[in-house]
C-alpha cells in the first residue's frame, strides 16, 4: 500500500513538474530558445503571488487573476527588449544572456524579499484531503494535476486550433517565409514568451501553496522542468506531462526508500532514460 501510495502521490506531483516544463517546451518549440532563467521566473511568480496576497488578503488562487497577466506582460517585454536580440545561429548569446538574467532575478529577489523561506497561505486547501480506495489524496495535489491537464490541453488547443498557434508553427518552421505572410516574428516570439510566462505564473503560485520557497530554488525548478521535457520528448506537450509524472513517481519512490534519496532518484531516472532513449519517450522534433 505504501508503494501504491508513493506512485499515486508521485503522479500528482508530476502535474506540478509538467507545469514547470510546459513553458520551457513551448518557447523551445517556437523559437528554439532554452531559457536558463525559467526556474527563477517560476520563483518570481511565487513572490508576486506573495505580494498580491499579503497586500490584498485574497486567496492565492484568486491572485492568479493578477499574477498571470503581469507575468505575461513581463514575458512580452523581456522577449522584445532583450531576448529577441540573442536569437540567431550562435548558441552562446541566448544561453549566456538567460544565465545572466537568472543571476539578476535571483539576487533581485534576495534584495527585495530576503533569503527567508516564504509560503503562500491557502487556508484549508493546504491540508484538505479525501479518501479514495484506501488512499488519502490531498485536494491540492489533485487540483494541481487537474490544472496541469487543463493547461496542457489549452496549450495544445492554442497551438493546433487557433490563428495564433498557426502563426507559432509557421514561424517555427520557416521564419523568412512567415515574414512574407505578414507575420512579424519579433511580435510572435513576444507572444510565445508571454504565453509561456503565463503558464509559469500558474506553476509558481501552485508551487508556493505546496511548499515553502526562497530566492535560491529557481535552478532546481528549471532542472525538474528540463528533465520532464527531455523524458517526454522534445516538442511534445502531452509527452511533457508523462515526463513530469515519471519524474514525480521516481522521486516519491526514492523518498520511500530513503528520504535523502528523493531528488537524486529523479535525476537518476532521467539519466537512465537519457541513456536508453536519448530522444525521450515520445519525441516530435529533433533538437
Amino acid at each position: 500500500m505504501d508503494w501504491l501510495n508513493a506512485i499515486v502521490q508521485g503522479t500528482l506531483l508530476g502535474g506540478l513538474y509538467a507545469l514547470f516544463a510546459a513553458g520551457l517546451s513551448l518557447i523551445f518549440g517556437v523559437m528554439r530558445l532554452v531559457n536558463i532563467a525559467h526556474g527563477d521566473l517560476i520563483v518570481l511568480a511565487a513572490y508576486l503571488g506573495l505580494t498580491v496576497t499579503t497586500a490584498t488578503g485574497i486567496h492565492p488562487l484568486l491572485a492568479l487573476a493578477i499574477v498571470v497577466p503581469v507575468m505575461a506582460a513581463i514575458g512580452y517585454v523581456l522577449q522584445r527588449s532583450l531576448l529577441n536580440q540573442t536569437l540567431g545561429d550562435d548558441l552562446l548569446p541566448p544561453l549566456l544572456v538567460t544565465f545572466g538574467l537568472s543571476v539578476i532575478i535571483q539576487n533581485a529577489l534576495l534584495e527585495g524579499y530576503t533569503a527567508d523561506p516564504q509560503k503562500l497561505s491557502a487556508g484549508g486547501l493546504e491540508t484538505a484531503s479525501f479518501a479514495l480506495g484506501g488512499l488519502t489524496l490531498g485536494v491540492l495535489p489533485v487540483l494541481t494535476f487537474a490544472i496541469a491537464i487543463a493547461v496542457i490541453w489549452g496549450l495544445q488547443w492554442t497551438f493546433y486550433q487557433t490563428a495564433l498557434g498557426r502563426a507559432f508553427r509557421a514561424v517555427s518552421d520557416n521564419q523568412d517565409i512567415a515574414q512574407l505572410m505578414g507575420l512579424n516574428r519579433r511580435h510572435i516570439f513576444g507572444l510565445a514568451m508571454a504565453l509561456a510566462l503565463a503558464v509559469t505564473a500558474v506553476a509558481g503560485i501552485l508551487l508556493g501553496i505546496r511548499t515553502s520557497f526562497d530566492p535560491s530554488i529557481g535552478g532546481g525548478r528549471l532542472i525538474f522542468g528540463f528533465e520532464a521535457v527531455i523524458i517526454g520528448g522534445l516538442g511534445n506537450l502531452w509527452g511533457t506531462l508523462i515526463g513530469g509524472v515519471i519524474l514525480g513517481v521516481a522521486q516519491t519512490i526514492g523518498a520511500q526508500i530513503d528520504p535523502g534519496w528523493q531528488i537524486l532518484a529523479g535525476h537518476i531516472a532521467f539519466l537512465i532514460i537519457l541513456a536508453v532513449r536519448p530522444n525521450g519517450l515520445f519525441p516530435r522534433i529533433s533538437a
Binding site: 502563426a167 515574414q179 512574407l180 505578414g182
Partner: protein
C-alpha cells in the same frame, strides 16, 4: 506611361561583402505582367528578396504605390499587398494544406481571394485540405504556394521559378491557370529560366546579367538573338 505600381531606382543589394545587384532600375505598371529572365546567379532571386524585404535595402531604392518601401521589414511589405510564391515552394511542413492557405490570409487584406476561391481554382486542394502539406506531390505543393500568396489578396504577386523541379505537363497546367489568377487588376512579376514560358505570359521583359539589367523590352518585340546576347553576355 501608366502609373507604376512598383519602381526600383538604383537598387543595390549585398550579401556581406558580395554585391549581387548593381543600380537596377525597373518598374512594374499597374495590371501588367512582367517577366524577369537571366542565367543562374544573375541576381533574379536576390531581386525578389529585395522587393519583399527579406534582404535589407536602403531608403529610396524601391517604391510601391508611390510610397518608399526601402528599409521596411518583410512583414510590413506583405501588409502593403506584395506577395510571393517563393522558389522551391517552401510550404510550412507542420501546417496542413488548409492552414498553409489560411496563414496567407493572416495579413487581413480584403479582396476576391478566400478559401472557396482557391479551392475553385485548384479543386484538388479541397480534397487534400487536411493533409500535411509535405505529403502532396510537387505540382500540388506549387498550387498551395500559389493559393497561399493569393489568400493575402495582393496587388502585386511575385512568382519565383515556379516551374523549377516540376514535370512539363504540370508546368503547362499551372501556366494555363496563370491568366485567370492574374486577372482582377493584379500585377505580377514572373521570374523564369524557361524563357519561352516567361515570354508567353508577360507583356514586358527584363533580362538580368551579373546583377545588372542587360535588356528591356516588350515580350513580343525583342528577338531571340537579343535575348541570348543579354542572357549569356556573348557579343
Amino acid at each position: 506611361m501608366p502609373d507604376a505600381i512598383l519602381s526600383m531606382t538604383g537598387l543595390d543589394a549585398h550579401y556581406g561583402d558580395f554585391q549581387a545587384l548593381y543600380g537596377v532600375d525597373m518598374h512594374v505598371d499597374a495590371g501588367e505582367v512582367l517577366a524577369i529572365i537571366g542565367a543562374n546567379g544573375a541576381g533574379k532571386t536576390t531581386l525578389m528578396r529585395s522587393i519583399t524585404g527579406l534582404l535589407k535595402n536602403g531608403p529610396g531604392q524601391i517604391s510601391h504605390d508611390g510610397a518608399d518601401i526601402g528599409g521596411l521589414r518583410a512583414d510590413e511589405i506583405a501588409l502593403r499587398g506584395i506577395a510571393m510564391v517563393p522558389e522551391g515552394r517552401q510550404l510550412f511542413p507542420s501546417l496542413s494544406v488548409k492552414e498553409n492557405l489560411m496563414i496567407g490570409a493572416q495579413v487581413g487584406r480584403k479582396g476576391p481571394w478566400d478559401l472557396d476561391a482557391v479551392y475553385k481554382l485548384f479543386p484538388i486542394l479541397d480534397e487534400r485540405k487536411d493533409q500535411q502539406s509535405t505529403s502532396l506531390s510537387g505540382g500540388q505543393q506549387q498550387m498551395v504556394a500559389i493559393g497561399r500568396a493569393l489568400m493575402s489578396n495582393p496587388d502585386l504577386i511575385l512568382f519565383d521559378e515556379i516551374s523549377l523541379g516540376l514535370a512539363p505537363v504540370i508546368i503547362k497546367d499551372i501556366y494555363r491557370a496563370l491568366p485567370g489568377i492574374i486577372g482582377e487588376g493584379m500585377s505580377a512579376i514572373i521570374v523564369e529560366q524557361d524563357i519561352t514560358k516567361a515570354l508567353s505570359v508577360s507583356s514586358r521583359v527584363y533580362c538580368l546579367q551579373e546583377g545588372r539589367v542587360s535588356l528591356e523590352g516588350g515580350s513580343d518585340q525583342i528577338s531571340r538573338e537579343e535575348i541570348s546576347r543579354a542572357y549569356f553576355g556573348i557579343e
